[in-house]
Amino acid sequence: MATNGTTRTVTIRLQRFNPDVDKKPVMKEYTLEITSDTTILDALEQIKATQDGSLTFRRSCRHAICGSCAMNVNGRNTLVCNQRVNAHLDRKGAVTVRPLPYLPIIKDMVVDRTSFWEQYQRVKPWLVPPDDVPEKEFRMTPEEVAALNDAEKCIMCGACYSACTVTAVNKRYIGPHALLKASLRVLDPRDTITNERLIEISGNDGVFRCHTIFNCIDACPKKLNPTQAIETLRKLAQKREAFVAARKERQKSL
């Protein structure tokens, strides 16, 4: 861990839950020396190493690309590996970390993400390209690429899914992560099952369940925009047939 001089003592408040012992999650406080560079994930590692080896959390890459360390810090979902403790201290010099809300807790910070992945699979997140692949490459215009709105940058951390008020009460809702991915595929000129996708996302659990609460944008650590993706899909779902016909035309000149 890189240090630059001064250390300070802070309180890390963690929500702990051990399914074998506890009936309900409990809050526990840990006092810790940190430097200005210490990330929240570093702090968790430090607690695990020096104070309580039973602390459980997911992490892997430590540089905000694997998406396993999403947690709820002071009431906001974020990755903990790219957030410094310093930036999140409240007035009393404490920071509160909980697991992602509205998901079943397995232990401590580890939540059950089954519904997250089930909904993801439901939108067929893969590309279904045309049968005859060109010799060299498909050519998309810069506008078509821009319209994807960086959605391919999603790291599947679950921050948006767990922040969404709609998924909180309804796990059948497809969810912002999967709808963002669906928009990525629907807007991709190479995609051939657009019609099927649009039918699925305009159904009972799809884009029209979104109530434009914007929690997904607030939560996204990659600054993506699921709400706008959903609004785009809403427009396309309403003119599905025309859009699918235009897609067929477009694919002749890919």
Binding site: G75, F214, I217
Partner: protein
């Protein structure tokens, strides 16, 4: 709940929406008394114009105005790519509805207090 301006506006929208839907049916019931004749109509209308109802009507106005202005915000979000201004839009809705509620509510308050 995950508390953001978006959640707050959503909660208000739901609460006012359900309240207004229930009110709509109440309103139809009150006006429906015309089917029993003019006397019944005047009678029931007088019942719902007792002082307490005049104050409740100000709350009704507030609910209608908020729900309406918030709805216009949603239309704006749907048709224009402005999700990044979500907070400003939220505060704009609050300010606009507050102004409209004051403008509309003051005469109602004076009427409720003064009587004509």
């Amino acid at each position: 709940m995950y508390k953001t301006t978006g959640f707050f506006s959503f909660a208000l929208r739901r609460i006012t929406g359900v309240a207004l839907a229930l009110y709509l049916f109440l309103h139809m019931w009150v006006i429906g008394s015309i089917n029993q004749g003019q006397a019944a109509f005047d009678d029931r209308l007088a019942t719902v114009q007792q002082p307490i109802f005049k104050f409740l009507e100000i709350a009704l106005l507030a609910a209608v105005v908020y729900h309406g202005v918030d709805g216009i915000r949603l239309l704006i979000v749907h048709y224009f790519n402005v999700a990044e201004y979500r907070r400003s839009l939220f505060y704009a809705v609050m300010v606009v509805s507050a102004l409209l509620i004051i403008a509309g509510g003051l005469p109602m308050l004076m009427f409720a207090l003064g009587g004509h």
